[in-house]
């Protein structure tokens, strides 16, 4: 019943994985990935990836935190229930600032982490790679390049050859 998910190549060093990534990138594959125990400096370029847009989530979160806070404080302390305290104005950006500042950070932080999860499609607890025992060393000290079978350029022999250089081991991963 099981069918192939993709082809997995294992490398010993970040340099070998990066070289393989550059070859895969230049060959024009789209549905593939590099898996490493830590973020490898320069791998994004080797894979031809764009800058991450997580910042927009942060920005939107922060903006809504700040404006939401200001509106909330104005509504509560200056509109819905005016109350004189300490001779201060009913509403002032000064006294409202500390709380709005914190809300900016709070929602900005939520924006960043939720943005990251959405962009990464995480959590994804069940994954074909997580069934593969060899792949378990990905969080240890091994580097992997995985090309999925549903890539339009996928061809078992050609893809295998492409990954061959520097690879320690190559195998198919079952779905």
């Amino acid at each position: 019943m099981s069918h192939a998910y993709g082809i997995l190549a294992e490398y010993d060093t970040p340099a070998a994985a990066m070289a393989a990534a550059q070859r895969v990138r230049d060959a024009g594959y789209t549905r593939w990935d590099v898996h490493t125990p830590f973020p490898v400096h320069g791998m994004d370029a080797a894979m031809g990836m764009k800058n991450s847009p997580v910042g927009w989530f942060t920005f939107l979160g922060g903006l809504s935190g700040y404006t939401g806070g200001m509106v909330m404080i104005w509504y509560m302390n200056a509109y819905n229930y005016e109350i004189v305290v300490g001779g201060k104005p009913m509403f002032s950006g000064f006294y409202a600032f500390p709380v709005c500042y914190e809300l900016t950070i709070l929602l900005g932080a939520f924006g960043s982490i939720i943005g990251m999860l959405i962009l990464n499609r995480l959590p994804r607890l069940h994954h074909p790679l997580l069934k593969n025992m060899r792949f378990a060393t990905v969080t240890h000290d091994k580097f992997f390049v995985v090309i999925q079978c549903d890539d339009h350029k996928y061809n078992e022999t050609q893809t295998r050859t492409l990954l061959q250089t520097g690879a320690k081991h190559i195998e198919m991963v079952e779905e």
């Binding site: 229930y81 004189v84 607890l125 069940h126 994954h127 997580l130 069934k131 593969n132």
Partner: protein, 216 residues
């Protein structure tokens, strides 16, 4: 060599999200109900020593509130009448009725009738009846249609929000002074926006919301 998590777990984020929304909605509903004026003493209707009916006295007989609660105009406190007030009539009317035995006993022994107080404000709240009734605020606003109750029950929330609500919009509640004790008054032609505001201005009703108005 199987993955410990079956495939359906990939839908967990959505499930968690849906569950979270459901739970969140539940909490909000709960908070709205229990933290808002809907949940107070409303409906409290203790058994009184004498089954005195406001419906008969104030409604059908048309007695004025002030006949019994005669301190309401003069004092912060609206008094519960002494047994002697009852005896003004009941020494003649239903003078031997069994239901009135506690009243007669109280009258003879000079001890108070053990009425159960229904409407209470907390110790830290100052409420002045005379200020309200003398400024065009009717009994009905806080006590409801007493004249239709056989047994008195807690009709309004009397929460802080209840007070504030009225203090913010006093012109909507105000009525001509002669109608304060008319619990059935219909505000025909007396609009809050025009007559209400005018009367509030004339009587100097500000409906202040500052803390020290009530918490002194």
């Amino acid at each position: 060599m199987s993955n410990i998590f079956p495939k359906w777990t990939n839908r967990l984020p959505l499930l968690v999200l849906a569950g979270g929304l459901l739970l969140g909605g539940g909490v909000v509903t709960g908070v709205t109900y229990y933290f808002t004026p809907k949940y107070t003493n409303v409906g409290y209707q203790p058994l009184q020593p004498v089954s005195f009916s406001h419906k008969i006295h104030a409604g059908e007989l048309g007695m004025d509130c002030r006949y019994c609660h005669n301190g309401v105009e003069k004092s912060w406190f609206s008094n519960i009448p002494a047994a002697s007030t009852c005896m003004n009539c009941h020494s003649v009317v239903l003078k031997d009725d069994l239901r009135l035995a506690p009243i007669r006993e109280s009258h003879e022994k000079q001890t108070p009738v053990p009425w159960v107080q229904i409407h209470k404000t907390p110790d830290y709240v100052y409420f002045n009846h005379s200020v309200h009734v003398n400024r065009g605020i009717s009994c009905v606003h806080c006590h409801g249609k007493i004249n239709e109750m056989d047994e008195v029950r807690h009709e309004k929330t009397l929460s802080m929000a209840f007070c504030l609500d009225c203090h913010r919009t006093a012109h909507e509640k105000i009525r001509p002074l002669e109608q304060v004790y008319n619990l059935n008054w219909k505000s025909d032609g007396f609009t809050p926006e025009r007559e209400g505001r005018a009367l509030a201005g004339k009587l100097g009703v500000e409906g202040s919301t500052s803390c020290s108005v009530c918490h002194r």
